[in-house]
Symmetry: C3
Subunit: 142 residues, 3 copies
């Protein structure tokens, strides 16, 4: 259960949690990023793919995914915005928000894509927010 | 009158209100979007055009505007940022913020434009925030 | 010392402070922007350059920098996001966040670049937040 804090406190805590979480991911700290998920966390970063499961599984998937940048060095930044929070039965929180990936390559324009809507379930363990599941939907015309 | 809540509470409430409002708009829920305006609300989404007035008028204008996408299917996401709140006489709130429209089309790059500054007047009715008026200014060199 | 306010209050205050600060900068109010720094403030907006120092020095540097737009009129908007706050010894606050510059030119696409990570030290003087130092790092592949 997220607890009895005010919605104001929770909303700001989630913003701050996401900032720390994505600075970790964008800085290549995959183990620390995975530690912001629950031990049994699920992370589906690409639609139609099965989720990575458990912290170890998330680290493995991130290492696999980032091999594509081995010959294409980039700096990537994840931007989140337009955050909605909704309580779930049992006290967890559904967080839904927009995301963009900002990519900088040497000698080229900054690209901003894809545009995504992300669906998280957030829980509190030992006082700290954690992501139990993350599902990233890429914008696409139906 | 917005009320006696703290600026912290109000600032977060406005952020959350805008998130819900724009998820509605971007999801095509025009009636629900219009319901986030006062009954006599005004919405000027394009400079130099007269505002749409009343909830019914806003829905009609959105249906009219979105006809341009009938043959050009897109997913659009509105991003708001750099939000300033200023109290108005009588207890309403002036909200001023930056906005970008993120547009995804099949088989093409994501485009992000226009860049806007939006001027809202927010009021509280029966405990809920509502937009009384919205005026969108597109960035353009003077 | 920032003080005894809650992290929630501080986080929102910093968001609001940055919104006001960047509306000033983007509106060309360089003196008012410089007044959001401490009297001995430091501002390093371009990596590998020495910082502008003092409010007067910051105004002078902004006037110098903006000469490049004399023959290339633009509207620029600074977007900040993914804000992290960390307390420093002595009560100041380290703020670390992502930034993008959105540039609109007549008859051309909106460009969004560079992508930056900004490192601020924030202090409180006479009840108001001020920036003591700002160092902007542009994203670049190592």
């Amino acid at each position: 259960m997220i607890g009895t804090e005010s919605l104001t406190d929770l909303y700001v805590e989630v913003q701050h949690f996401y900032a720390r979480q994505m600075h970790l991911l964008d800085g290549g700290a995959f183990e620390e990023y995975a530690a912001t998920f629950t031990e049994d966390g699920e992370f589906t970063h690409t639609p139609q793919q099965p989720p990575a499961r458990t912290r170890a599984g998330i680290v493995a998937e991130l290492n696999r995914f980032h091999q594509r940048f081995a010959d294409d060095p980039v700096v990537r930044r994840h931007w989140f915005n337009m955050l909605k929070l909704d309580p779930l039965e049992g006290g967890d929180i559904a967080a839904t928000y927009y995301a963009l990936v900002v990519t900088t390559r040497p000698g080229r324009n900054v690209t901003i894509a894809p545009s995504c809507v992300v669906h998280d379930v957030l829980v509190r363990e030992n006082g700290a927010l954690l992501t139990r599941s993350r599902k990233v939907d890429h914008d696409q015309v139906p």
